[in-house]
């Protein structure tokens, strides 16, 4: 320890940004009654882990990158950072750094971080920096709403030349900082990470508010088939192609609240899963709801990926939610006591 940077405010300068790179947080809650989308990270669990690893609150503001986007940042006053989500090559001052790990840096030294692309990995990745990004709040939230044009940096994707202020460096993380370079302090256990591999993702669902309007045979078709994520999927919704689904008799819906994970079926019969930037009201039959723990699994599916659905009991959804929270709490303990492994990156 040569100096304490606790309380010092960091900042980052964007030196390159291509594609959909935005600031996101845990969402804008309490304004859906005025028609305002919740928004927030598309893979909420990857975002939460990135934040926890970086020593931030779960819903701190971080950088979200989609698919083939690319980013380079010049960082100052950063004591730790973490990457989570779809893995791509990332370099810190030219040296490769891993995902799903806490990277300790010296807050008194500036460094450059470059995030590359990879066609093969998932769709959304997150960079959390100690202290969290501190854009101006809009309606109680900090995340970028591209359609509304607010939140994050001027309601838009990051551009080269943007400056972003960070919150004060947490004192605890400064104590661990080495003289120079970066160290891996702790890694997320594989149990908390989303399942990787070539298996078809299975998304667990609960019946939606119009589940009973779909005949049993239609529901069985939905649960027995593979659906493919189509290219016209975005932060608002993922469209799926597969067996067509129709309620019987046809339903006219009076606008009704919908949420992240709601599976709606428009009159053409192809289901749409509403994602983070969904409108607050839906006008189509609501077939099912993806359990909150599986939202990130779907979010990470690129166009062309096949998924299948499995109906579960509400208790299963609650157990999954509790298990996640306990896992994250244990991770916190690991970070707090320094019980994680430490090694040169």
């Amino acid at each position: 320890m040569t100096r304490s940077a606790a309380g010092e405010v960091g900042q980052i300068r964007v030196t390159e940004a291509r594609g959909c790179v935005t600031l996101q947080d845990g969402g804008r809650h309490g304004f859906q009654r005025f028609g305002v989308s919740v928004g927030g990270a598309m893979d909420p669990h990857a975002a939460e882990l990135a934040n926890r690893l970086a020593g931030n609150p779960a819903d701190a503001v971080l950088v979200e990158l989609e698919g083939m986007s690319r980013l380079a940042l010049r960082c100052e006053g950063v004591s730790s950072l973490a990457l989570a989500g779809a893995i791509v090559p990332v370099h810190l001052d030219g040296r490769p750094v891993p995902f799903w790990a806490r990277i300790e840096t010296n807050p008194s030294q500036a460094f450059t971080i470059g995030i590359g692309t990879d066609r093969e990995s998932g769709r959304w990745r997150y960079l959390a920096l100690s202290g969290g990004c501190r854009p101006a709040p809009v309606l109680g939230g900090f995340g970028t709403d591209l359609r509304a044009g607010w939140g994050g940096v001027e309601g838009r994707m990051l551009h080269s030349g943007d400056w972003i202020t960070l919150g004060p460096v947490p004192k605890k993380s400064v104590e661990h900082a080495g003289q120079s370079g970066c160290h891996i302090w702790s890694q997320v256990s594989a149990r908390l990470r989303p399942p990787a591999g070539t298996q078809i993702p299975v998304l667990r669902i609960l019946p939606g508010s119009h589940w009973n309007a779909f005949p049993t045979g239609v529901r069985q078709r939905f649960l027995g088939a593979h659906y493919q994520v189509t290219p016209d999927s975005d932060r608002m919704g993922y469209r799926l192609s597969g067996p067509l689904l129709h309620p019987d008799p046809p339903l006219e819906i009076d606008s009704e609240p919908v949420t992240f994970g709601s599976i709606q079926v428009p009159s053409d019969g192809s289901p749409i899963v509403l994602m983070a930037d969904h409108p607050t009201q839906g006008g189509y039959p609501h077939l099912a709801e993806i359990i909150s723990m599986d939202l990130g699994v779907l979010a990470q599916c690129r166009a062309g990926t096949e998924v299948e659905f499995r109906q579960v009991d509400e208790q299963v959804a609650l157990r999954a939610l509790r298990a996640w929270r306990q896992g994250v709490a244990r991770l916190q303990v690991g970070l707090g006591t320094g019980s994680g492994f430490r090694g040169e990156a």
């Binding site: 809650h29 859906q32 028609g35 009076d254």
Partner: protein, 229 residues
């Protein structure tokens, strides 16, 4: 009409799941001002006494969603709480409703569907404007897009179904109709309603509190600006 609605309401209020962190109440009757006002009052009652783990409430046209942390207050407890709130609401809650007069430029480029609406109604466009601007609407719901008001009261002669092919781009401020509802698009967006006019009225300002101009129960009248046709 209100007494009939009351009977239907007693028959079945559905409590439906909206994922493990949400609950949807759905009433069996048609959307109507009285129901919407009571839905708003339900939300305001919840704001005054929120159970632990409450996140937010969202009204629908004849529904009401609440989002919550199910590990802090169970679904069963939520159903009981909401039902009890609902049953204890006055029949006609006292809401601070306001009256707005909204200037509109009808027809032409501002309301490209006015002629078609007039054709369907077998009226001339001037008559349609007079009908549209001749009554007081009531806000049933604000939602879909930030500040978008769903207005009840459209005269039956002007009722048109949603357009079969939605427009990819509807100009901000467009005054639009569909079925028996009227709405104002607060910002440029896709939309399937028929466009009869346009206003400069600001429906939403994120810097204001509350950010939406209109609230459920507010009264709105449209005022044709000079040059409308």
């Amino acid at each position: 009409m209100d007494s009939e609605v009351g009977v239907a309401e007693a028959q079945s209020l559905e409590c439906l799941p909206l994922g493990e962190c949400g609950l949807l109440l759905r009433w069996p009757q048609e959307p109507a001002p009285r129901l919407s006002r009571r839905i708003r009052a339900l939300g305001e009652a919840l704001d005054r006494k929120p159970p632990p783990g409450f996140v937010e409430w969202v009204p629908g046209l004849r529904s009401f969603a609440v989002y919550f942390d199910p590990t802090r207050f169970s679904r069963a407890a939520w159903v009981e709480t909401l039902t009890s709130f609902w049953e204890n609401l006055p029949e006609n809650p006292d809401l601070p409703v306001r009256f707005f007069e909204v200037p509109v430029r009808y027809g032409g480029d501002d309301g490209p569907d006015l002629a078609e609406v007039a054709d369907r109604a077998r009226l001339d466009p001037e008559h349609c404007i007079a009908l549209h601007a001749g009554i007081v609407y009531e806000v049933l719901l604000v939602g879909f897009a930030p500040g978008f008001p769903y207005l009840a009261g459209l005269p039956e002669a002007l009722a048109v179904p949603r357009r079969t092919t939605p427009r990819l781009r509807v100009a901000a401020g467009s005054v639009a109709i569909a079925n028996r509802l009227c709405g104002i698009y607060p910002r440029e967006s896709p939309g399937g309603w028929s466009l009869v006019g346009r206003t400069d009225w600001i429906c939403f300002d994120p810097g204001r509190s509350p950010p939406a101009c209109f609230a459920i129960g507010d009264q709105v009248r449209f005022h044709p600006e000079k040059g409308s046709r």
